[in-house]
Symmetry: C2
Subunit: 241 residues, 2 copies
């Protein structure tokens, strides 16, 4: 009598799957919590506000996550793992670095401010630009600021952030550079350091600005200009002479 209102296309009552209902509630909680934590930081964020944002009751939140600390870790940690899903295009550029390197016209000249148009240069610019586009997204920058600010209280998140970024971005680049070194395309005695330098000149340079200017979208033209110049610098230093 009014307890089964929802009917499907055939008029058959739809009994909500309890598991799915719980999953949806859990999702609405984590969404609300993330928004609140990003807006207020950990300490200033209130469980009351998260309760109101999520639409569920406070007791339910505590049943699911136990405490504010655990909620924070679950939410931020979970988002971190998934945030780089949009960075897939960078993997394609990475494949370009490995496969087509050395087949271009003048990929190794690296004249500094010159306009070397080798395939390697294009691939490196594409790779770094893709990553910059992802890492400079306002939501990811905000998450980064949150993690950095709370790192004394939650060192695990700092470790996780660094590791995820490294595994997804640095490590593949290091491997690619090492391979290019072995094939004689580049002269990179320390691929580990070289990768960090390349990312610093391309991604790090605009990232520094956006770290202290919250909410600003990255400018595509500026991004391309910086990435191009950074890659030129890199190739000038590590190209075969």
């Amino acid at each position: 009598m009014g307890t089964q209102d929802v009917l499907d296309a055939y008029g058959i009552p739809v009994i909500p799957d309890p598991a799915d209902a719980a999953g949806r509630k859990r999702r609405s909680i984590t969404d609300a919590a993330l928004a609140e934590f990003l807006a207020e930081g950990y300490s200033a964020a209130s469980m009351d506000a998260i309760t109101q944002r999520s639409g569920v009751s406070k007791a339910t939140i505590y049943k699911h996550f136990g405490s504010k600390e655990r909620l924070f870790l679950a939410v931020v940690g979970g988002v971190l793992a998934q945030s780089y899903a949009d960075a897939e295009p960078a993997d394609a550029a990475l494949a370009d670095i490995g496969h087509e390197a050395g087949a271009g016209s003048d990929s190794g000249t690296g004249t500094g401010t010159g306009t070397g148009t080798g395939r390697l240069r294009v691939a490196l610019v594409r790779f770094t630009t893709d990553w910059a586009r992802v890492l400079l997204r306002p939501d990811i920058m905000a998450l980064r600021r949150l993690v950095i600010g709370e790192i004394d209280r939650f060192p695990q998140l700092g470790q996780l952030w660094y590791r995820v970024t490294y595994d997804r971005c640095n490590r593949p680049l290091v491997d690619a550079l090492a391979a290019l070194h072995d094939r004689g395309v580049l002269d990179v005695p320390d691929p580990e350091l070289a990768a960090r330098q390349l990312l610093a000149t391309t991604v790090g340079v605009p990232q520094l600005v956006h770290t202290f200017a919250p909410g600003t979208e990255p400018d595509e033209d500026e991004l391309a200009r910086v990435a191009g110049s950074g890659v030129d610098l890199f190739l000038a230093g590590y190209g075969r002479k």
Copy 2:
């Protein structure tokens, strides 16, 4: 009657200057507040804890600073302005860049991984190493994390941090690079970008690690190695060909 205990070298009682007493109290408040804010962040820091750390009463703190927000701004802003006092040696290195550049042996070759020992290279390594030593100091890194984490609530501090760093570190470097360009020592069409790139490869690279690994002292050898490699990269790209 015991109210004038303090005597100077001639046995003359020293009446504490009320203004100085207030100044000392103000100083003990700001010291305590800084320690508390660094340890707990803005929101989690409690005025009670600052009261206990400082040794003065809570009412006195409010008489001096009005509110927690104003105390935070005064303390962090004040420290920012003075934190770079230790970076004076970098100015000396900067003078070296300007005065002795071009007089060295092979300052402009920039062989990438080569060991160019020109005076310019030495001066640039010195300049960047000095700055890295200062910017990577654990207390300054902690302050930086605090500012970044609270930037949504206190955008003024973000602006101030960026401006102070830029005025003291970037701008002089930009000017020096522009001068070297004009004298034909380097080929730097965009000194602004070039300075950011140089600082990214030398200071930014280790800074990124220490951002996510709080409390770790920078290793001198590693610092020198990174700075040297970064400067080589820079000279390879921007040296006259």
